[in-house]
Every structure is written in structure tokens, then in C-alpha cells.
Symmetry: C2
């Protein structure tokens, strides 16, 4: 169930890599490649967040594209979830879907719900791809809108979950984004959407307890969760042993979610 | 009040430009540059939508960066609104703000409200930059969530407007995104936010009536709107005269919004 977030803040990447590689593109890609090679047998997905690549301009975008291609070439059974939180309308939404799926080659993408299903149609119609809809986020102020109570009862995020589960998932390619910092809302989300995969950021560096998240959010078969950790894994060490440290952190996270560890 | 949307769908760019320029980067940048040179004395802003550049990979991102730099160099009094509809949390939101403002050099950016103000703090704290918050979008299904009625009254989009106007705008750098296809909601938005600039897409190719939008949404001084047209201007002609045709379409849109044309 472990997903590793490939979010290479350039300033946090070990100096040894910066000394060995002359370009930003090579630094970012080499860092990712070493993390991937060290963790691939332990993970169910990789999740690069587009922001960290965009922040480095076209060099960053080349590193992102090479990272996705590297996973596809060497670990073709591991899907790449592009965390881009896109949301736009019409031909623009079409261009975003093309950018994520065709230009970058991602297997799934995260999207914003605020504009509604018709805006996301270019994503939803891609039956071969995954779409994770933001429902409940893990930031402290997430409740500002997500927890507003609607006329007739229920909160906004619950309405989002219900719409995705009952209306948007015609192609069977939808999932949700929950919060690893709130097992209660994960349990409520699972009750509303028994069959949807839930992507759970917010464990590890963000403070959430992975075991509690799994207990609260797993489906009937004990699966259905993709638990993401980014900084807690990829920056487990700032030294030359960063890849081995990432592997160790991944193993610790994975074992904390083993059925035998859960009570 | 006219804003030109620089949304260069590669396939819609006149063949003459594709014949003259050998790379995608040059085609996109040259198209934009000619549109800009032909319209700069008529517009209050340019609004490139990130999606169309991302869809062309790193070549697209280079064209976008060069476009923003070109406007800054030659028409430094015209702001660039990066239409990116970003929304993420914590260090990721920080990276998006850096990508938009520092890496690309945009003067303003569009953002998603769903994650709340704390998620957008890296944008909101940039007092020298503009932040346009999606409130009411112009797609047919925008109401799916935006028009949900909240307990205690009012719709979700109205709550977003009120929060932005009363809580988020401490640095005086916030604006809203309204819908050019719904003068009624623009009038209601103006009533809730008398002083905020409103970016109004949805006129022209999307079917909205610019004059009706201006009448409904202008502030007390008859200003406060940024009315965007993209395809209706930049693809006014598919021939070698595309830039002159864009100028003409911009003039027509601008004159339709002149006080003397409004009744």
C-alpha cells in the first residue's frame, strides 16, 4: 500500500548529487532514479508532485518526463500518479489531460472537484487512466470550505465523495484523495465509497499515523488504500546514503501497515 | 478592460507559422509575439493558460517563459495573469507560487479555493502579485458544487466570494474569477465584493455577451473588470493575417464595452 512521493525540492537534495551532476535536470532525475531503484520492490505506486518540477522550469519538466519514462521502462507494473491537482474547463481541461497522460505518460492524476464533472470529462473519459479527486485534504485549514454543512445535511467533502462514487465513476477509473491526518474522516469516506481507491497523503512528515489511517480507511478486503509519504522517505538522509535510507524508511512505513501490526 | 487569452492550441496555429519555424517552441512563441505586438495598445492584461504550454512539454514551457519575458521587456505596464488554477498545500503550494511568480515571472495567477486560505498562503503573502480565486466558473456544470446551498443560506460560490473579500485580502492582492456567461451571478458577485477586481472569462467563443457582463459586474467607478477572450481573438483568422485579425477582434470587443455602447 506504500506510495513514495517523488517531490525533489532542489535545495534538500544531497550535496553529493549536486557535485556529481552538472545540470538541474540531471540532479533531479538522478535523485529520483536512485530512490526508485532502492524502493521499487516495496511500493504500489510513485507520486511525483508536478509543483517541484515546474519550479525548476523546463529543466524540471524534462526531469519529470524522464522519471515517468524510467518507471515505465524498468518497473512497468508500478503506476505513476501525477499529483497535479488540475481543474479547468473545456478545451483547457483537454490540454491538461493531454499534458498529464500523453505528454508526460502518467497513469493517473489528481484533480480538483470545484468545477464539476463536466469540466473534468477529458480526464474521466480516459478509461485506461486513473483520476483521484480531491475530497478531504490534510492541511490545517482544509475545513474552510470542505467542512461547510449543506442544506439538507452533510458536509461539502461528503457530497464530493458521493458524487464521485455514484455519478463520476462510469468508467470505473475514479479514486479519492483523503487525509492521512484524520482517521475519522477516512472511515467516513470509506463508508460513503466502499469500492473506490483512496490516496492518502499526510502520513510521515505531515504527522499522520499510517497504521491508524489503514485501519480507518481500508476496504472490505483490507485493501483499497494508497498511503503516500514523500519527505519522510526521500529525505530520510541528506548524505550519500540517501537511497538506502529511503529504502529503510519505506520498509518501516510498510511494516507499520502490515495486518499483523494493526490492532 | 480587455484581456487577451494567449492559449495557443498548437493544431489551431496558422500553417504559415508552422512552415516558417522549425520547432514547437518557436511556433508557439512567434505566434504569441505577433498577437502581442498587434494588440498591446488595446489590452489591460494578457492571460496565458498554462495547460496549452504543458501539453507541449518542455518546449511549451520555454515558449511560455519567453512569452512572459517578452511582455515584461516590451510592454512592462501590461500585467501577465498566468491562468494555472493551482491549489495545493504547504511546501507544494510554495513550489507552485515559486513556479508561477519567480520561475515564469507572472504578475498574477489563478487559484482554486477548495483547499482553503492556509493552503494558498504562499500566494496570498506575495503582496506584489495578484491572486484571482475561482469563484464561479463558466462551464455548463459549474453548479454541481458551486451552487450548492449551505446551511444558513447562500451558495458555496458566494461563501468563497465573501471569504476572499473579507478574510483573504489582507495584502490587497486578491481578485475573483467570475463567469462571462452569467451576468446575474456577476452582479451578485459585485454586490458581495464591491472592491475586488473580477476576471471574466467566457465571453466571445464561449458564448458570453461582453457588454452584459460589464454592465452587471463593473464597480462603482465603472471599472474593476478584466474581460478575457482567447480563441475569439487569437484564432480570428487561420491565415497569414492572424495578427491583424486578432487586433480587429480585440477592437470590436473593446468597443462593445465602451460606456457609450452600454445601455
Amino acid at each position: 500500500m506504500v506510495c513514495v512521493g517523488l517531490d525533489p525540492h532542489l535545495e534538500a537534495i544531497p550535496d553529493v548529487l549536486k557535485a556529481e551532476n552538472s545540470s538541474v535536470e540531471e540532479v533531479l532525475f538522478t535523485f529520483n532514479r536512485e530512490i526508485i531503484d532502492a524502493t521499487a520492490d516495496l511500493v504500489c505506486a510513485y507520486k511525483p508532485n508536478s509543483a517541484f518540477y515546474e519550479a525548476e522550469g523546463d529543466a524540471g519538466m524534462r526531469a519529470l518526463k524522464r522519471t515517468v519514462a524510467y518507471i515505465a521502462e524498468h518497473y512497468s507494473d508500478i503506476p505513476v500518479i501525477l499529483d497535479a491537482k488540475r481543474g479547468d474547463i473545456g478545451s483547457t481541461s483537454e490540454a491538461y489531460a493531454r499534458a498529464a497522460f500523453d505528454e508526460l505518460g502518467a497513469d493517473a492524476v489528481t484533480v480538483q472537484p470545484y468545477l464539476g464533472a463536466d469540466a473534468l470529462e477529458p480526464f474521466l473519459k480516459r478509461a485506461d487512466k486513473g483520476i483521484f479527486v480531491l475530497a478531504k485534504t490534510s492541511n490545517p485549514g482544509a475545513g474552510e470550505f470542505q467542512e461547510l454543512t449543506l442544506e439538507g445535511g452533510g458536509q461539502l467533502w461528503q457530497r464530493v465523495v458521493r458524487r464521485v462514487a455514484t455519478e463520476w465513476n462510469g468508467n470505473g477509473n475514479c479514486g479519492l484523495v483523503g487525509s492521512g491526518r484524520s482517521p475519522e474522516t477516512l472511515a467516513a469516506m470509506r463508508a460513503l465509497a466502499p469500492d473506490l481507491p483512496i490516496l492518502v497523503p499526510g502520513v510521515g512528515a505531515q504527522g499522520g499515523d499510517a497504521a491508524a489511517a489503514v485501519l480507518a480507511g481500508k476496504d472490505e478486503k483490507g485493501k483499497g488504500l494508497i498511503v503516500n509519504s514523500s519527505r519522510g522517505i526521500i529525505f530520510a538522509s541528506s548524505g550519500a546514503d540517501f537511497a538506502q535510507a529511503a529504502r529503510k524508511a519505506t520498509e518501516i512505513l510498510a511494516s507499520s501497515m502490515e495486518p499483523s501490526s494493526l490492532s
